[in-house]
C-alpha cells in the first residue's frame, strides 16, 4: 500500500486505521450519516488504497446517472450575473429561468434601447444648448421643453415596446409550448412584463435625469410608462396582442405630437396628464385582473 494515512479516518477508522468494507459500501450507497461522510471523505483524500476499494462498491449505473445529471447542470449553468444576484435576493430560480426567454431582457435589446435614448437625448441637449435649431425656419422657438418633445415621445414608447416584446407571441418562438404547459399563463405574462418594464424604465429614467430639463422629469415619466404598459396588457384580453400594443402606442404618440405641435409638450407629463395616467393605470389593472383567464386559454386564438 502506498500513500495511505491511516489516522486520517478518525472515528470511522477500523482496527487497521482504514474504513471497513461495510462503511465504504454505505458511503457509496449514500446511506452513511453526515459526520461519517465527512470522516470517510477526509480519509479518502489521502488514501489511494481506500479510493481504489471504494470503486468496487460504486453502482456503475448510479454513477453514470449522477454524471449525466452533473453534466446537464453544468450545461444549464447558473445563468447570468444578474440572475445570480437576483437569486441571492430571494427570487425563485425557476421564475428567473422563465425570464431567459424574454427578448426585451437580452443584452442586444437593452443596448438598442440605450442607443435610441442616446440619440434622442443627444438631440435634446444639442437643441437646448443651441448647437442645432429645432424644426423649420419660421416656427416659434424658445418655448418651454421644446428640446424635450422627441424624448417625451420616445421614452414611454420604449418602455411599452419592452413590455410588448415580453408578451407578444411573435417574439416568443416557443409560445405554443407555453400555451400547452400547465404553468399559469397569467403568472408568466406578469413575470415577463414586470421584469421588462423594470429593465426598460432604468435607462429611460437615467436619460431623463441626464437631460437638460426639469428635475422632476424622471419621476414624471414613471406613471405614463406604467399606464401605457398596463393598458397594452389589458387591451390584449380584448384585442389581438399586436393590435393592443399598437393601440397603446397610439394612445401616447397622438397627444404628445399634438401638444408638441402647439408648443406645450411638457403638458403631457404635468398634473392633469398624470391624473389621466393614474386613472388609466387603475382601470387597466382592474380589467387585467378580471379578464386574466384570457391568458390561460392559449394565445393562438
Amino acid at each position: 500500500m502506498t500513500n495511505s494515512s491511516p489516522g486520517a479516518a478518525g472515528p470511522v477508522a477500523g482496527a487497521d486505521g482504514h474504513p471497513g468494507e461495510d462503511l465504504l459500501a454505505s458511503y457509496a450507497a449514500g446511506t452513511a450519516g453526515t459526520v461519517t461522510v465527512w470522516s470517510v471523505e477526509a480519509h479518502l483524500t489521502g488514501c489511494a488504497r481506500c479510493r481504489s476499494a471504494l470503486s468496487a462498491h460504486v453502482d456503475a449505473e448510479r454513477l453514470a446517472h449522477n454524471r449525466s445529471v452533473l453534466l446537464v447542470r453544468a450545461a444549464i449553468g447558473d445563468g447570468s450575473r444578474v440572475r445570480r444576484v437576483l437569486r441571492r435576493c430571494g427570487l425563485p430560480d425557476h421564475v428567473l429561468g422563465l425570464l431567459a426567454a424574454t427578448p426585451s431582457l437580452r443584452r442586444s435589446w437593452l443596448l438598442s434601447v440605450m442607443g435610441v435614448l442616446a440619440v434622442v437625448a443627444g438631440e435634446a441637449a444639442a437643441v437646448r444648448y443651441g448647437w442645432i435649431t429645432a424644426g423649420s425656419p419660421g416656427i416659434i422657438h424658445g418655448y418651454p421643453g421644446q428640446n424635450l418633445a422627441p424624448f417625451l415621445l420616445v421614452g414611454p414608447l420604449l418602455v411599452l415596446a419592452g413590455v410588448a416584446a415580453a408578451f407578444l407571441p411573435m417574439f416568443d418562438p416557443a409560445c405554443r409550448l407555453a400555451a400547452a404547459a400547465p404553468f399559469s399563463g397569467f403568472a408568466l405574462l406578469l413575470a415577463r412584463s414586470v421584469s421588462a418594464l423594470t429593465a426598460a424604465l432604468v435607462p429611460v429614467a437615467a436619460a431623463a435625469f441626464l437631460l437638460p430639463g426639469p428635475g422632476w422629469l424622471p419621476v414624471a415619466l414613471l406613471l405614463p410608462s406604467l399606464a401605457l404598459s398596463a393598458f397594452a396588457l389589458a387591451a390584449a384580453t380584448v384585442l389581438p396582442p399586436r393590435a393592443a400594443a399598437v393601440t397603446a402606442g397610439a394612445l401616447w404618440a397622438v397627444p404628445v405630437l399634438l401638444l408638441a405641435a402647439t408648443h406645450v409638450p411638457l403638458v403631457i407629463v404635468q398634473w392633469h396628464a398624470q391624473s389621466a395616467c393614474a386613472a388609466v393605470l387603475i382601470a387597466s389593472a382592474v380589467v387585467l385582473f378580471l379578464r386574466r383567464d384570457r391568458f390561460e386559454l392559449g394565445w393562438m386564438r
Binding site: H65, S68, V69, L71, V72, R73, A74, A75, I76, G77, P92, D93, H94, G97, L98, A100, A101, R106, D172, P173, A174, C175, R176, L177, A178, A179, A180, A181, P182, F183, L188, D293, E296, L297, G298, M300, R301
Partner: protein
C-alpha cells in the same frame, strides 16, 4: 353495460362533433373519435385538419363546436384544462426555438413551464430525455448550431419531459433520417406507463410499423378509424402489378422491380392482384373522397 357504453367510459380521449373554421375554410367538420392507450397514427394530406385536431387536443386552440374529454377532463373548465396540461407532452408541427438557448437550457426552460421547479429534479429530467433521444453530447450546443434533424429530436425530447400520460406529436418524423426514424419508433415502443400517443405523419410505413390504431382525416372529416390492417384491407382486390401502365388507374407508378403498381378498378391486361399496404388503403380513401 353494453360494449359501446363500456368503450365510451374507458376511452382515454373522446371527441364529439368537433368543428373548427378559419374564416371560410372548414378545418374540422363534426369529427367524432375515441382514442385508447397506445399509439394512434393520424394520416391525411396537407390541409386535412390534422394539426387543428392535435392543437385542440393539446388545449392550445379552442373548437367552434363540439366537445373533447381527455382522461374524463373537460378543457373548457380552467382547472381541468390545467390538469390535462400537467399530463401532456406536445410537439407542435412548427416548433420555434429560442436560438440563443443551449440544448440543455431550452429543455430546462420547458421543464419549468411544466412545473418542474426544483433544480435537481429538472436536471434529472433533462438528462433523462437527452439520453432517450441521443443528444447527451449536445447539451451545451446552441440551438442555432443544430441541424434540422437534431432540432426535431430536441422537439421530441421536450415533449417527453415529465413522463406525460398523453403525448401529442405533430409530424415527429419530419426531417429525421431513416436510422433516426427507426430509433424514434423504438423510443415510442419503450415508453413506460402505457401513455396515449397520437402522432400525425405522412409516412404510412411509420403507421404500419408502430401504430395499433390509425385514423384518416380528409378535408376536415373523419374517413377511417381502425387498425392498419383494416385500412390496408379497404384496398383489397384493387391493387395490381403489371408490366404496362394503365391510364384509367387512380394512381400508378413503376416500382423498383420495373413493374407498374396500379391502384383502381381497371387492371391492365395480364395484371396480377397484389396484397395491399396501408399506403394503398390510404391513397384509395383519399382519392375516393376527392382530397387528391
Amino acid at each position: 353495460m353494453d360494449e359501446m357504453t363500456r368503450s365510451v367510459r374507458t376511452a382515454a380521449v373522446r371527441v364529439d362533433g368537433l368543428s373548427r373554421r378559419y374564416g371560410a375554410t372548414r378545418a374540422l367538420d363534426e369529427v367524432d373519435l375515441t382514442l385508447e392507450r397506445g399509439i394512434t397514427g393520424l394520416l391525411g394530406p396537407n390541409g386535412a385538419g390534422k394539426t387543428t385536431l392535435l392543437s385542440i387536443l393539446a388545449t392550445v386552440s379552442e373548437p367552434d363546436a363540439g366537445r373533447v374529454l381527455v382522461f374524463g377532463l373537460d378543457p373548457r373548465e380552467a382547472a381541468e384544462r390545467v390538469e390535462i396540461r400537467r399530463r401532456l407532452g406536445y410537439l407542435p408541427q412548427e416548433l420555434g426555438y429560442h436560438r440563443h438557448f443551449t440544448v440543455a437550457g431550452f429543455l430546462d426552460y420547458v421543464a419549468i413551464l411544466k412545473e418542474i421547479t426544483g433544480r435537481r429534479r429538472r436536471a434529472e429530467e433533462v438528462a433523462r430525455v437527452l439520453a432517450a433521444i441521443g443528444l447527451e453530447r449536445r447539451a451545451r450546443t446552441r440551438i442555432r448550431a443544430l441541424s434540422g434533424g437534431m432540432r426535431q429530436r430536441l422537439g421530441i425530447a421536450q415533449a417527453l419531459l415529465g413522463q406525460p400520460d398523453l403525448l401529442i406529436l405533430d409530424e415527429p418524423t419530419a426531417g429525421l433520417d431513416p436510422e433516426q426514424r427507426l430509433r424514434f419508433r423504438e423510443l415510442l415502443s419503450d415508453l413506460p406507463g402505457d401513455p396515449v400517443i397520437v402522432l400525425s405523419t405522412h409516412q404510412a410505413d411509420d403507421i404500419a410499423a408502430i401504430c395499433p390504431q390509425v385514423v384518416v382525416l380528409l378535408q376536415g372529416r373523419l374517413h377511417f378509424a381502425g387498425t392498419p390492417s383494416d385500412l390496408a384491407a379497404t384496398a383489397a382486390g384493387r391493387v395490381w402489378a403489371a408490366d404496362q401502365r394503365e391510364t384509367r388507374a387512380h394512381l400508378s407508378w413503376r416500382g423498383g422491380d420495373s413493374r407498374w403498381r396500379h391502384i383502381g378498378d381497371h387492371p391492365p391486361a395480364g395484371a396480377e392482384l397484389v396484397t395491399p399496404t396501408v399506403e394503398d388503403g390510404y391513397l384509395l380513401l383519399s382519392h375516393a373522397s376527392g382530397a387528391r
